[in-house]
Subunit: 331 residues, 2 copies
């Protein structure tokens, strides 16, 4: 029996796990990343935690075939580098793969975090058996990964599957990436909370002077009890909060547009929705599926099944470990 | 030396060619398809032409390794069937691969026409050396094909790369496919001609009674000399025709949105533009590239090169023949 370590580096927290060949987590921990301490310090700290987790699982260093290292992108996979990551300020062109390998003394494979999560769902989650799979992780942003013929799609520049930055609204809301109208401006957990707050603070009126008042347009709830999470907003929407309903439905509609475009681009068997927004469960699935049905073509029955991801926040570490098995585990 | 036959079945005309291992066309012909005569009659007629082309190339039946058959989709590749094609009325679930194989007495491989054209450009055109490539054929509709790691991407339902039906305008113009706002409603050669004609016939005015006249908004040219082709419209646009300029620029802008979304989905090295609209050359490339530059993210330099396809209307037959070599040419 052999084992792998999966590390899922985030801007705030980093998850680490020791995983067996059946993709079960033996030991795991989440620690603050503290990216401001710099790549070397972060990697030294993560190495310490990883070694402790291996010990805690009653394993020796030699039982571990390697480390899968999932990090925010964009990446240069050939060089093993993080090119530039929005939530790792100052980490430019950092050779994280080699830094970790030298420190931990094990082979390391680097992967984009969205891709690692998608591979995790493919190998051990809601995408098992789907050789063509797309996973959208609706959290702070929209992470994504694409599985083609059972492997992660990288493309020529290593950044395939950055589906959170597909433009769904031409000339739409500005995104820190430099574009306008990106999917993640409308349909990430954070975007929804932000949009509800913005709408609640400054409700729009048509030509204030001439219009009749609209007493029911914005319920008290949206200003009185500020919803804190995407799921809260989904619930408030079903309970009649007009602002929440508008923002949530718009998010579901643009997600559906993305799903239709994914259908035509990759023609996957399944599209999985994960991340904070997916905690709303059926309150997310039902309207997204309905919008897809009304927007997708009627030419041919090639609509992917749209359903929830299964591994939750563990998808990244499990996927990363699975990629280490693929790369280094000659069984 | 061995040879292959490429057939590119269209709603109006079908192209056939005998192709050698260097992907050179030895003999070729274009014939009316006459789909209304039914699949068997069409395939019998095409077989006759193919056999004549083999003879004309001074080849024997045994010199031909097989036939690559490119047809409009959607297809069921496993069963070798055209599921339903908008421009082949009445051809539903037709097992064209087996019909042709039985008639012509050679192995036949079936492929979507957009995919075959993309493979042609990859193997012998403007995409040589690009293992990750996307080709958009801007003609009657928008045909497309995606090359991933040097092979045609099919996806789970065999219809990957139907990029002409990516939604670029939510709730936009209706498309015969059943969707609204498909790329091909804005950026195909036919769509452009149609939109210019529609605009020229019924120029929009703001609240006619109160607005001042807009003498320069629509030049005489657009009503007097109706542009007939997409290239004519591109030229009229540069010559100051306001309707043509508006329609052409909008087409280029939506094409650029599609290119940005293709960048994030597939991250290809190159995107090729072919078909009738691409005959406009730099009048197409320059504004598309400019719109891409202004719309794409600034996070990372992974912008694919956007350039013109090279094989013109031969891309389909060359690609189809090349796929026959891949499938049946053992050497």
């Amino acid at each position: 029996m052999s084992f792998a370590v999966g590390i899922d580096l985030g801007g705030t927290n980093t998850k680490l796990a020791v995983v067996d060949r059946a993709y079960r987590i033996l030991t795991h921990r989440s620690v603050p990343t503290q990216p401001e301490t710099g790549p070397r310090a972060v990697i030294a700290a993560l190495t310490q935690v990883a070694e402790a987790l291996v010990q805690q699982a009653n394993l020796a260093h030699g039982d571990v075939v390697g480390v899968g290292f999932a990090t925010p992108g964009p990446l240069d996979l050939g060089a093993g580098r993080i090119t530039k990551a929005a939530n790792l300020p100052g980490w430019h062109h950092v050779p994280v793969r080699d830094l970790l390998r030298e420190r931990i003394g094990l082979p390391v494979t680097l992967e984009n975090d969205g891709n690692a999560a998608a591979f995790g769902e493919y190998i051990a989650g809601a995408g098992v058996g789907c050789e063509h799979l797309v996973v959208l992780t609706l959290g702070t942003g929209v992470g994504a990964g694409v599985i083609v013929d059972g492997a992660v799609l990288h493309g020529h520049f290593d950044n395939a599957g950055e589906l959170g930055h597909m433009i769904v609204v031409v000339d739409g809301l500005p995104c820190p990436c430099g574009q306008r109208g990106c999917l993640e401006r409308y349909a990430s957990a954070d975007a929804i909370v932000r949009r509800v707050e913005a709408n609640a603070e400054t409700p729009k009126r048509r030509n204030t002077e001439t219009c009749r008042p609209e007493p029911t347009a914005y319920s008290l709830q949206s200003t009185a009890e500020k919803p804190r999470t995407a799921s809260d907003i989904a619930r408030a929407a079903t309970n009649g909060d007009a602002v929440c309903a508008k923002v949530w439905d718009e998010a579901c509609k643009y997600l559906a547009v993305a799903c239709v475009n994914i259908q035509h681009a990759f023609n996957p068997q399944r599209i999985l929705l994960g991340g904070g927004m997916s905690l709303a469960g059926d309150l997310l699935l039902a309207p997204v599926r309905e919008h897809v049905r009304s927007q997708a073509w009627s030419l041919h029955a090639d609509l992917p099944e749209i359903t929830l991801a299964k591994l939750g926040p563990d998808a990244g570490v499990i996927g990363a470990a699975a990629l280490a098995f693929d790369a280094f585990g000659s069984s």
